[in-house]
């Protein structure tokens, strides 16, 4: 059966909340804020399937998650897309699992291209992968997701300068701009400021879109595609809400890296429609 994007996203949100509840740890807030645009990316935008995926990415679009702590959304999407059995989501963060707390290639989880968790590194890796595609004549696209809080890392801006310098125009970077990080809002903690002006000043084409509206998401990816090959890397700033979809988690830093109680999980489940069938706990 074919599911609509909102149906998939609703199931992914259920997975996220159930995974961090079962593991009694993990990062629901940013996973929930990234769910909608990543659902679109995995189910509509990228030309890679569980059957064609390989780590070197040749002849395929490739996704690099830099903000590795939002592993729950990545794992759920990979499972729901068919990269590995949905039941494996129950092993998240458990001893011996392929679903490590932060993504790892060590145990060979299909769909994961690179370890991430120590922040600020994934954009550089994506630039390298994009330059490799240019060297080998592969016309496909590299997608990278960074967090807004992660953008406080200096390496992000080293990478920003480098991508523009090398005219890495087969790269679409994305920021989950939910305005929250562990210790508070991105403004209170570090004065993150005007990301659009910053990325434009570094020589990037910048697209801003509502990261929870599938029409706006489709339009943003379409604009990003039209900018490919135009000499500039592309940044999509997704306007999102931390914890989106679960009312008591929404819009606050409190759920960055905290698991709900069983009661809170049950409350969240009432707010999220089960569409594709929950994984067995």
């Amino acid at each position: 059966m074919e599911y609509t994007l909102p149906q998939i996203a609703s199931q992914v949100r259920r997975d996220i909340v159930q995974m961090v509840t079962a593991a009694a740890s993990g990062h629901p807030g940013g996973s929930l804020s990234s769910t909608d645009f990543l659902t679109y990316l995995f189910f509509k935008e990228m030309n890679v399937t569980p059957e064609t995926w390989r780590r070197n990415g040749f002849g395929l679009d490739q996704f690099f998650l830099s903000a590795g702590h939002i592993s729950p959304v990545l794992y759920s999407l990979l499972a729901r897309r068919g990269y590995f059995p949905v039941e494996e989501l129950a092993t998240f963060r458990r001893f011996g699992t392929r679903l490590q707390g932060h993504p790892s290639v060590e145990k060979g989880l299909p769909g994961v291209n690179q370890a991430a968790g120590s922040l600020g590194q994934g954009l550089s890796v994506g630039i390298g992968a994009a330059l490799a595609k240019k060297m080998s004549g592969d016309p496909h696209t590299i997608f990278v997701l960074v967090g807004d809080g992660e953008s406080e890392e200096g390496q992000i801006w080293e990478a920003a300068m480098s991508a523009a310098h090398y005219r890495v125009d087969n790269l679409v970077a994305m920021t989950d701009w939910n305005h929250q990080q562990i210790d508070g809002t991105t403004e209170d903690v570090a004065g993150l400021g005007d990301l659009r002006s910053k990325w434009e000043a570094f020589g990037w084409s910048v697209i801003e879109a509502d990261g929870h509206d599938f029409g706006a998401i489709e339009d943003a990816f379409s604009r990003a595609r039209s900018l490919k090959g135009r000499g500039k890397p592309v940044m999509i700033l997704w306007h999102t809400e931390m914890g989106h979809g679960v009312d008591f988690m929404a819009g606050t830093c409190k759920w960055h890296g905290k698991n709900p109680s069983a009661e809170q999980c049950a409350e969240a489940m009432k707010q999220l429609e089960e569409t594709m069938g929950d994984f067995a706990l």
Partner: protein, 314 residues
């Protein structure tokens, strides 16, 4: 004592440059990146011959490590070049996560290592890099002793599937190993057979150890002399066999005692055949400006100090 001839002083980093240039012509998957130190790393020949596979990243070492990891994922064999301090301490976390933990096939070419960097002083004289790199799972650590060995090690690093740290120096040093040698990663090189004391040296200290062995032989002390170019994985069998034979071990290196080859050897021997040892290395301090030879003598990293250490074990 076997004879070793200095065929003329050359810097080890130029051995890397020659190896990289050869790789550029023989392996189109080899790419090179530098953080504003193309000339210092002797990457000019590769860059001129293969501009499409050469990337000047600017003074942004963390980004360079990540870019190399991305290229490695795509199947390329990137060599990243900068000074040893900026290739290790500055980017240890990037190497840890994006290279070692991610099992990406990145080669780290680190020049100007150790105190022989000289006049620039302690900010640039890294004496911790071997320790930093050898702590990382998956990482191979190679510290070649002369131009020829460095060139051979560079070719071997490209053929090795996994992260490799290659350490070079700035000044010209005697070039005495065979030009046509094949470098075997993880294999110790026996330079002399002796029964009275084992001297294990790495990098610039190997030539000093040869001079020390000659002086010791003149005094009637025969030396089992081992060149350890691959610090990790260590050729444990060679080290244990020699220690069992002589019962005395001196380790000489241009590095801090902490984290260096001496500690590696001590760890192996402590677990297999505890052996009295001496460490010719720098003990818990920074370097300073000066001429390379002057600094090596001042910090006790020369033949005279190796002889003294060996005799003190009798």
């Amino acid at each position: 004592m076997k004879e070793y001839i200095d065929t003329g002083k050359k810097d080890t980093r130029s051995g890397f440059g020659a190896g990289l240039a050869e790789l550029g012509n023989t392996n189109d998957r080899v790419v090179a990146l530098t953080a504003d130190l193309k000339g210092s790393l002797k990457m000019d020949e590769f860059a001129a011959a293969h501009p499409e596979r050469f990337f000047e990243v600017g003074i942004a070492e963390a980004n360079m490590v990540g870019m190399a990891a991305g290229m490695a994922i795509a199947g390329y064999i990137p060599f990243i070049g900068t000074f040893a301090n900026f290739a290790t301490a500055r980017v240890m976390d990037q190497i840890r996560q994006s290279v070692c933990y991610s099992k990406t096939n990145v080669k780290i070419a680190a020049s100007h290592a150790g105190i022989t960097l000289g006049e620039d002083g302690a900010t640039h004289q890294t004496l911790e890099d071997i320790g930093i790199m050898r702590m990382l799972p998956e990482m191979v650590v190679i510290n070649p002793c002369d131009y020829n060995q460095t060139k051979a090690a560079t070719l071997a690093a490209a053929a090795w599937d996994g992260p490799v740290y290659l350490r070079f120096g700035r000044p010209g040093v005697p070039n005495f190993t065979p030009a046509d040698q094949k470098f075997e990663i993880g294999k110790a090189i026996k330079l002399n057979e002796g029964d009275d004391v084992t001297i294990i040296a790495t990098g610039h200290l190997v030539w000093e150890a040869i001079q020390a062995a000659k002086q010791l032989e003149d005094q009637g002390v025969t030396v089992d002399l081992i060149d350890i170019a691959t610090i990790k994985p260590l050729d444990k069998d060679a080290v244990i066999a020699s220690a069992r034979k002589t019962g005395r071990v001196v380790v000489a290196e241009e590095h801090l005692i902490a984290g260096g080859l001496g500690e590696v050897v001590a760890g192996v021997l402590a677990a297999t055949c505890p052996t009295p040892m001496r460490f010719v290395a720098i003990d818990d301090q920074f370097g300073q400006s000066g001429k390379p030879a002057e600094l090596m003598a001042a910090y006790g990293l020369d033949a005279a100090h190796i002889v003294e250490a060996a005799l003190s074990l009798r």
